[in-house]
């Protein structure tokens, strides 16, 4: 009963705020190129989807994001594992990785576009570069966080380092890796959009740019709306995988419990 009321309340809240926005814009006569009323945004959304324009650009951006996510995560996993397992790798490589990370990678996007062109490649590379760091750090920390007592237990069983890695360190790192994937997914979307801003032939980022030149503010709003929904869905996707993989993790169980209570 309570959950029904909560749903009703949140729907009501949404309607009231959208209604207030619409009313304020109309009463104060705010020009549409500054702040469009929600009805205009909805209209732009409808036009964009019914003409097929949005879907075409959306699928392109999604492709860039997912490819970048996969490439960046794979790179982060491999490098993170290498750094965690080998002291020399850590000593020689890690300072450069940190230097690279402290650089705002948005500033790299123009170079990447110059190097790899206006097509898909530059977007995927930019997305991957931004996505890989959280995974690198989390994999590294995760692999090193194996409980000392568990390592002792494995050693007392005369386990080899390889066995300790596969049976203990790797599964033990999964909560960290999954948290890294969570962040990497959203970072990949940011990376793709930023690269599209710099130069692209297709994609939602490019569409925002061109709408901006045409002062089509309601169009831009409609795309922002799409982007936030896409971000939410991508995040949900990662969380679903996480729940499957980490059924044994205490923090995950807490979250599941909480969801059960609030449902």
């Amino acid at each position: 009963m309570r959950s029904m009321r909560n749903v009703a309340l949140s729907v009501l809240l949404f309607c009231v705020s959208v209604g207030a926005w619409e009313a304020l814009v109309r009463v104060l006569e705010v020009p549409a190129f500054i702040l469009p009323p929600p009805s205009q945004v909805a209209l732009a959304l409808w036009r964009g989807f019914s003409s097929g324009l949005y879907l075409q650009h959306l699928s392109h951006t999604l492709l860039e994001t997912l490819l970048g996510f996969i490439a960046g995560s794979a790179l982060g996993l491999v490098l993170g594992t290498a750094v965690a397992l080998s002291r020399p790798v850590e000593f020689f490589l890690y300072p450069y990785i940190v230097m690279f990370q402290s650089l705002p990678k948005v500033a790299l996007a123009p170079l990447i576009v110059v190097w790899f062109g206006l097509g898909l490649t530059s977007k995927v590379i930019n997305a991957a570069l931004i996505a890989f760091f959280p995974l690198l750090v989390n994999t590294m920390v995760g692999l090193r966080s194996a409980d000392e007592e568990r390592v002792s237990l494995m050693r007392s069983l005369a386990a080899s380092e390889r066995q300790i890695f596969w049976m203990l360190r790797l599964p033990n790192s999964l909560p960290f890796v999954m948290a890294g994937l969570d962040v990497a997914m959203i970072f990949a979307l940011i990376g793709a959009i930023v690269a599209e801003f710099v130069g692209a032939q297709k994609g939602l980022g490019m569409l925002i740019q061109s709408m901006n030149f045409n002062m089509d503010v309601s169009g831009q709003f409609s795309i922002l709306l799409i982007l936030s929904v896409v971000g939410l869905l991508l995040n949900r996707g990662v969380m679903m995988i996480r729940k499957r993989v980490l059924f044994w993790d205490p923090s995950e169980k807490e979250r599941i419990e909480q969801e059960r209570v609030s449902a």
Partner: protein
């Protein structure tokens, strides 16, 4: 000689710290017979955990020698089972998979050990829990899983490092009874470390008393109470005599207060 499960000769372990060395163990010697239940009791810092780690092959000694069943200890070996203070279970493995961990590590083939795992789980009263995960069990149950895991590959001896130290008093007494029952059934050599004098007297055939700084064995006491010992044995005068005697050792050495 061949029947000595554990033989320790002039064993020393020195830890180097910033201001010199600390003798965790100083020239300790003792022997444990096959099938014997030996408890080591002492205050924290007396080197008893260090001793167990050396026997388990996790630490190397600074001097002296230690051998298990006639062969010198040169690292971890597969004919012992170790139980730590914490259950140290892997949360992503079910109870059964946790019990079978040594089998997986030693590549012995799960199929062959499945019946043994089930029998052992029944022995510790955890039949029907084999598909559960560790977090679904109480602390006492988790420690029973750890004991089962230590027994699965049928080791010749068990090394136990304060296995019940983290449990509440009631559960602990219950686990002491359980361990006695398991030991009487399996007849394995048990080397049991504890800081509880009554626990040591209740469980062991022999109690080694250790004092700290430097870590030494100051007494080797044979406990002649008949088995199986019920919990009530703790209220008998003989039991009181043993615990008083051991406590006295600590007072003489200034290891414990009062």
């Amino acid at each position: 000689m061949a029947t000595e499960a554990i033989s320790v000769q002039h064993l020393s372990k020195l830890y180097t710290t910033r201001d010199g060395g600390v003798a965790a163990l100083e020239r300790i010697s003792f022997a444990v017979d096959e099938g014997e239940f030996v408890a080591v009791v002492g205050p924290s810092g007396c080197g008893k955990s260090t001793l167990l780690k050396i026997l388990a092959g996790l630490l190397s000694p600074s001097g002296g020698s230690a051998s298990l069943r006639g062969t010198a200890i040169q690292g971890p070996r597969r004919d012992i089972g170790v139980v730590f203070q914490a259950p140290v279970l892997f949360p992503w493995r079910t109870v059964l998979d946790n019990v079978l961990l040594p089998i997986d590590v030693q590549g012995l083939g799960r199929e062959r050990f499945m019946p043994a795992a089930m029998d052992l789980l029944a022995l510790v009263g955890l039949r029907e829990f084999e598909r559960r995960y560790p977090w679904e069990l109480s602390g006492g149950m988790q420690q029973r899983v750890a004991i089962t895991r230590a027994l699965i590959h049928d080791p010749a001896m068990l090394l136990m490092d304060e296995p019940f130290g983290a449990l509440d008093a009631m559960t602990r007494e219950h686990m002491n009874l359980e361990l006695q029952r398991i030991w009487m059934e399996k007849k394995k050599t048990v080397f049991f470390i504890t800081h509880s004098i009554p626990e040591a007297v209740f469980l062991a055939d022999r109690v080694l008393v250790m004092t700290p700084r430097p870590g030494r064995v100051v007494d080797d006491l044979r406990i002649k109470l008949p088995r199986p010992r019920p919990l009530d044995v703790m209220t008998t005068p003989e039991f009181g005599e043993y615990t008083r005697h051991i406590r006295g050792q600590f007072n003489v050495k200034g290891g414990l207060d009062a």
